[in-house]
């Protein structure tokens, strides 16, 4: 046993990408096992490795953890990225949950039928620029600090950066009305662990392409 967390998922972003981000940001090396076929998924289920028959699966500290939020909360707690007290944790949770709703739209986008894609993209743009980004722009402006919560690097900062980059891949000028977020993006991207993760050759996965979508549909039906 290597001691490193081991991630089991398809070879793509999906629901595992926030976990890769958070581990990387915390400076934690991890291994990955990629599901390529439906048979591999069925074997994991048959072997009893998946609590609710689903991935993501992260083997960490003797546990076979499933459920993305449970995994992320555990990692945030373990690596001191969850604030200093209950109230800071509440703020981090609120921010992360909001961002996750936005990321969910991006996650589902490649799987929407071609005729719905334009509408869905417009919806992502609208929600990002009217509902979510204004909140974080305001938070940063009001306290004038580098990080979203408690003047300290947290899970919320990692999640927001991931979301900004994901939306920018679809809408390159999306931050044009958000000067604080532009500064935030630069600052977070330059933090050593994150900078490393953003470089080629890291475990970061590329945006989903048709090949990825097809393999996901085959594995999960």
């Amino acid at each position: 046993m290597s001691g490193k967390p081991r991630l089991t998922y398809c070879n793509g972003r999906g629901r595992m990408e926030p976990v890769r981000w958070l581990l990387a940001a915390a400076g934690v090396e991890f291994e990955e096992k990629f599901l390529e076929t439906r048979e591999q998924l069925l074997k994991l289920i048959k072997d009893g490795d998946l609590l609710f028959e689903q991935v993501p699966l992260v083997e960490i500290d003797g546990m076979k953890m499933v459920q993305t939020r449970a995994i992320l909360s555990y990692i945030a707690g373990k690596y001191n990225l969850y604030g200093k007290d209950l109230k800071e944790r509440a703020l981090i949770d609120m921010y992360v949950e909001g961002i996750t709703d936005l990321m969910q739209m991006i996650l589902m986008f490649p799987f929407s039928p071609p005729e719905a894609k334009e509408k869905n993209l417009a919806s992502i743009a609208e929600k990002a620029t009217k509902r979510y980004f204004p909140v974080f722009e305001k938070v940063l402006k009001q306290h004038g600090q580098d990080f979203l919560v408690g003047n300290r690097f947290s899970w919320a900062d990692v999640q927001l950066l991931e979301a900004i980059l994901a939306v920018e891949e679809k809408i390159p000028a999306v931050l044009s009305g958000f000067p604080q977020l532009q500064v935030f993006k630069t600052k977070m991207s330059n933090m050593p662990t994150i900078k490393k993760f953003l470089q080629p050759g890291s475990p970061r996965k590329p945006p989903p392409d048709e090949h990825y979508v097809a393999s996901v549909m085959a594995i999960f039906k």
Binding site: G77, E97, G98, R131
Partner: protein, 222 residues
């Protein structure tokens, strides 16, 4: 300031019900302000009290909390229903995420067409019976304790009870193959705070009827 948490939502279960359960189980009295019309929701939005323009919203401890999971995690930790350490919390989180997936399916059911409703109802029952309930039955069997995690009442027990009762409303004999969950249901239901919540006149909301669904569709533009 009353000091009691104040819940903002429509007068029905939806995403707020798990919060009502947790507060009630913890013995915490709370107030409710019901959104009856689209204008009520617009007013909350215009007043700037909804961080992401959405409900549930719970005013407590000087915060206007939104996002159901954030609210539930805060309450669980505040009222010592979140295990004794990080690993117990991890188990509670895993169990609760599972029941949330199941209860979300039930919550969405009334919004489907008649044809999809039948299909999804069958899926709910299949999932409860083959994916979710076996996990909790096994957990209870493996450790032989009264509670799911850490031999102590936690958020997981309350959430699983809520899920059991919701699925039973869909299929009354759903627990027939799960003897330990039957005993669990009896035990947790008899905890004084929960017993009180299960009695008529409590703030527990009834299953959604057509009138409520129509109102929700109007308020939220569904």
């Amino acid at each position: 300031m009353a000091g009691k948490p104040k819940l903002y939502y429509s007068n029905g279960r939806g995403k707020m019900e798990s919060i009502r359960w947790l507060l009630a189980a913890a013995g915490v009295e709370f107030e409710e302000q019901f959104i009856e019309t689209k204008e009520d929701l617009e007013k909350l939005r215009n007043d700037g009290v909804l961080l992401f323009q959405q409900v549930p919203m719970v005013e407590m401890d000087g915060m206007k909390m939104v996002q159901t999971r954030a609210i539930l995690s805060y309450l669980a930790a505040k009222y010592n229903l979140y295990g004794k350490d990080l690993k117990e919390r991890a188990w509670i989180d895993m169990y609760v995420e599972g029941t949330t997936d199941l209860m979300d399916m039930i919550m969405h059911l009334p919004f489907y067409s008649a044809e999809m409703k039948e299909k999804n109802l069958a899926l709910i029952i299949e999932r409860a019976r083959n994916r979710y309930f076996p996990v909790y039955e096994k957990a209870l069997k493996d450790h032989g304790h009264d509670y799911l995690v850490g031999n102590k009442l936690s958020w997981a027990d309350i959430h699983v009870l809520e899920a059991i009762l919701m699925v039973e409303e869909c299929k009354p004999d759903i627990l027939s193959a799960f003897p330990l969950l039957q005993a669990f249901k009896g035990r947790i239901s008899n905890i004084p705070t929960i017993k009180k919540f299960l009695q008529p006149g409590s703030q527990r909301k009834p299953p959604p009827d057509e009138k409520f669904i129509a109102k929700v569709k109007k308020i939220f533009n569904i």
